[in-house]
Symmetry: C2
Subunit: 154 residues, 2 copies
């Protein structure tokens, strides 16, 4: 099975010097298609819906799902090579997204709707970096979290 997107995922992984495993390819594709940061379980869920069956011990499983530990470690490896990063939300579980529009230093604000709970990455804003005048602090990273109502719930 080969599709343009799948090939792209493979290339990305190759460039990052990571094994091209089905799990990584699938998760990367899910993130490429995602419009917003996703939780691990949401990622697993979407992977399960994928066409090319993930070959693994449970390949024949109707759900075709990845183990949560696998998702966890896969994301870990993707984060390590800076392809993915954790979004910074009001919710308890971590959210993940491609590190596309963001630098290590600063990334777009993450907005969480207090009504529906969905988190969005607001790619059109970037707050200025904080200028810390207090003695001796060295800031390496800044993240902004917003809370309110999303268009659908407002």
């Amino acid at each position: 099975m080969t599709t343009p997107q799948r090939d792209k995922a493979r290339r990305i992984l190759k460039d990052a010097k990571l094994y091209c495993t089905e799990a990584r390819i699938a998760i990367l594709q899910v993130l490429m298609q995602a419009a917003r940061p996703l939780r691990q379980d949401q990622i697993a869920e979407r992977v399960a819906g994928f066409q090319p069956a993930i070959r693994g011990r449970n390949a024949l499983d109707t759900k075709n799902a990845l183990n949560k530990v696998t998702v966890y470690r896969t994301l870990e490896s993707l984060i390590e090579v800076s392809l993915v990063h954790r979004a910074f939300t009001y919710q308890r579980a971590w959210h993940f997204e491609l590190a596309d529009h963001c630098t290590e230093h600063q990334c777009n604000p993450h907005f969480t709707c207090t009504n529906c709970g969905v988190t969005h990455c607001l790619t059109d804003i970037l707050l200025p970096m904080a200028k810390v005048s207090q003695k001796g602090f060295i800031v390496n990273r800044q993240q902004v979290r917003l809370e309110g109502l999303c268009p659908a719930c407002a």
Copy 2:
């Protein structure tokens, strides 16, 4: 036992229409004395060191400590009346501080040292509120998280 600070704590609780319990008084005092956001266990630890013994089932306990559930619910009640709020850190456990310098809408950035792990509330800065131009988002709250090296570790 009565001290100015203790009396102040009582008054605050009274004004907030909360029962003046030993747990609330003690925790409020700990937060008033704290220079930075604290985790629940840190709060419990400090309460345990307090002079006026917390009268409770375990009053004679050498540790004179509060149950974590009590700390949890006490903080919850203090948050509900806006006396306290959760700081927004890079660590997994929540941190609490008096809602002194902050409004519900916007609070000072929280800085976490990547070396020693300590979190500070940088009271001298306030980033402008994000202007969300994306269609239809209503922002009610903004929080900023900073990461880097604190003066002691730099």
